[in-house]
């Protein structure tokens, strides 16, 4: 058996893979944040709450309506997305002309309220949510037993990231969107309904968070704090990747998952802090983030 840095190679490969799986969640969540920030200029602190809502909607669909995981994966993002539209129309749309700070405060307040209500209703230990039958069990990939469900998480997340990136960078809708962020009045002059477009973009970002929430439901306990645990890390990912950069958030999400995974082997106590150490270093060397354009 050969060794890597004093650890048996199979163990290291296993840890790299686990890091990648966590990275898949970071990538999906930071992608939604980047889309919203890039297009709306809103720092969406309620993102973790929408992630949690996605998981709870999936749980509720199964518990009360008998809707299975696969339909929940489609339905939960739509339901949470509609909720996002409501919030955007009633609250967030009032803030576009103001400083970033107002959006940050508003969405942070929304997150506290949503999470508080969920805690009040469901307590903190969480709800059980089973892995769908077809993805149960694990496969021996040589160096470790990889649960089938985790493999699916990486695949689903990678596909979702790719699709989002393609839509924004390669389609005409995406081009209009990007144009609208640069110069909204001009795009509006071409007869395009910019406010509606912005609302739908917000809904899309929120739906991405809910999608990640459904993916997470069978792995972590479905509990009201699940989003709060993720969101701070995800913000660090977005900052490291470069605020608003789609590609940056995807690459950094997966990359930092791996960095964190390795820290869990060498110095577990530091695994909660390592991403912030990276953030500090990146901000010192490249203040706009790894993939961000200097303002």
């Amino acid at each position: 058996m050969f060794m890597i840095l004093g650890y048996p190679a199979p163990l290291m490969f296993g840890q790299l893979l686990l890091g990648l799986i966590n990275g898949a969640f970071y990538a999906l969540l930071s992608l939604g944040l980047a889309v919203i920030f890039g297009m709306l200029n809103i720092v969406n602190f309620a993102h973790g709450a929408f992630f949690m809502l996605g998981a709870f909607v999936a749980w509720g669909l199964l518990e009360f309506l008998g809707v299975n995981y696969w339909f929940a994966l489609l339905l939960a993002p739509v339901i949470v997305g509609i909720f996002g539209i409501l919030l955007e129309k009633t609250l967030i749309s009032r803030l576009y002309k103001l400083d970033h700070l107002y959006g940050l405060l508003l969405t942070f307040g929304m997150a506290l309220i949503i999470e508080g209500l969920a805690r009040n209703q469901f307590g903190s230990s969480g709800m059980p949510y089973r892995i769908p039958a077809i993805l149960q069990g694990a496969t021996n990939v040589g160096f470790m037993f990889l649960p089938n469900y985790r493999a699916w998480v990486v695949v689903a997340s990678a596909i979702m990231c790719l699709v989002t990136w393609l839509i924004i960078e390669k389609t005409s809708i995406g081009a209009t969107l990007r144009a609208a962020t640069e110069n909204a009045p001009l795009v509006q002059a071409f007869g395009i309904n910019v406010p509606r477009m912005i609302t739908l973009t917000y809904a899309g970002g929120v739906a991405l968070a809910a999608f990640a929430g459904v993916l997470a439901a069978p792995i972590y306990s479905v509990n009201p704090n699940m989003g709060a645990n993720f969101i701070i890390t995800v913000f660090a990912v977005v900052v490291i990747g470069g605020m608003g950069s789609i590609l940056g958030s995807i690459v950094t999400g997966f990359g930092l998952g791996i960095v964190e995974g390795l820290t869990k082997v060498f110095y577990p106590q530091g695994s909660a802090t390592v991403i912030f150490v990276v953030m500090v270093i990146v901000l010192l060397v490249r203040p706009a983030g790894l993939f961000g354009k200097a303002a």
């Binding site: 966590n22 307590g123 903190s124 709800m127 306990s221 645990n229 695994s271």
Partner: protein, 402 residues
């Protein structure tokens, strides 16, 4: 001096003033400091506050008023200590109780001692509360890491679990639990092969640690954590098909409820209270149902009831005004009186502040064995009160030696 009717009335009024002041001073205020928003909310939290209130309502104090207030310590020792300090300085609080989270509870123990108030921790686990960090103001009520280590750890070591790997929550509680369990493993001739310390709070993915534990080849993976950390560990161990035995060193009823019996079945765990243990515990749980219909109490919530009840009995015996004056005197009175309630039966309190009662080793039932809602445990073994906890001489409690 001419004595007019007016001055006479005035003097009479002035003379009654100290009397009213005394009557006001004789109202007792109980502060339930707990986790109302974090991972321990379900096992303590609002139901612990309700249990304290129920003790007050049932006792129906004669001759003095009792008020229960509560606050969220957010699992931060600094937040908990400053709430406790404010309660003592301005809030007129006489008793601080519950305080799930060992780190917070150690900080509050210092405040209670400094302000000379009564302190009855129910939720925290660390055995240091009656060991190196003991104070004459503290009675540690429900359970501690030594009790858990002896019962669950001892039983698993006896059943052939002689090599261990620990997944430890990186703060006072996890460290104490790992230390105490290691003592029992080594005494039984076993060995600890390794361990990881995981950041608390904020760790949700334990797969990396579980795979490390698997690679260590240890027969038992000791989970020195609690609440949603334990829930996530057990859930993910199942997902990764980990064959080693899981030593859930602190598992609460609410954790089993959250995981479901199909995942938890066969798990060994130790508690000092289970709602369906005997007639007393069932009666208590039935009464508490009026306050939270869909829930059953954990040992922490039952303990809060028991602790507050015994405190009120003591206050009644010594007089409220007397009890307010000096926390240490009140605590000494409590230690001198035997305890009795529906939750823990008859018990005593040792001089170092350790409340003594039996501990119970349970096994989680198979789904097919569970006949009704919350029917989760079957009793495997009982450790009598005089053996369940660390002997007085081994605790190194500073004020006992002095």
């Amino acid at each position: 001096m001419k004595l007019s009717r007016r001055t006479l009335l005035g003097t009479a009024a002035a003379a009654t003033l100290p009397a009213t002041a005394r009557a006001q001073a004789a109202s007792i205020k109980i502060g339930v400091l707990t986790d109302l928003s974090g991972p321990y909310q379900d096992l303590a939290g609002t139901l612990a506050v309700a249990s304290a209130q129920m003790a007050v309502d049932e006792f129906a104090a004669k001759g003095f008023k009792v008020e229960v207030i509560s606050a969220d310590h957010q699992n931060k020792p600094d937040v908990g200590a400053s709430i406790a300090r404010q309660w003592c300085d301005q809030g007129g609080v006489d008793l601080i109780t519950e305080v799930a989270n060992s780190g917070v509870s150690l900080a509050v123990a210092g405040v209670a001692k400094e302000k000379n108030k009564a302190y009855l921790p129910c939720g925290p686990a660390t055995s240091d509360l009656t060991g190196t960090a003991c104070t004459p103001n503290t009675i540690h009520w429900v359970y501690d890491t030594y009790m858990l280590a002896r019962s669950t750890g001892g039983a698993m070591a006896k059943a052939g679990g002689d090599t261990w790997f620990f997944i430890t929550a990186d703060y006072a509680f996890g460290h104490a639990l790992t230390r105490d369990t290691t003592g029992f493993i080594e005494a039984a001739g076993g060995k600890v092969l390794g361990g990881v310390k995981t950041p608390f709070p904020g760790t949700t993915d334990f797969s990396s640690y579980l795979v490390q534990a698997q690679a260590s080849g240890a027969k038992v993976i000791g989970l020195a954590n609690a609440g949603s950390d334990t829930v996530n560990c057990i859930k993910q161990a199942k997902e990764f098909g980990i064959k080693q035995k899981l030593g859930g060193l602190l598992v609460f009823l609410t954790d089993v409820h959250a995981l479901g019996l199909d995942i938890c079945q066969g798990l060994l765990l130790t508690e000092s209270f289970y709602w369906d243990l005997n007639d007393g515990t069932r009666k208590f749980s039935e009464r508490l149902k009026a306050r939270a219909p869909s829930k059953r109490p954990t040992m922490v919530q039952a303990g809060t009831y028991s602790a507050v009840l015994h405190y009120l009995k003591t206050v009644n015996a010594m007089g409220a005004a007397e009890a307010k004056k000096d926390g240490v005197v009140t605590i000494n009175h409590m230690k001198a009186m035997p305890t009795e309630d529906d939750c823990f039966g008859k018990g005593t309190i040792r001089t170092d502040g350790r409340k003594l009662h039996p501990s119970y080793l349970f096994e989680v039932k198979k789904p097919s064995e569970s006949k009704y809602a919350w029917d989760y445990y079957k009793l495997i073994a009982t450790t009598p009160a005089d053996q369940a906890f660390r002997p007085l001489a081994e605790g190194n409690c500073p004020f006992i030696k002095a």
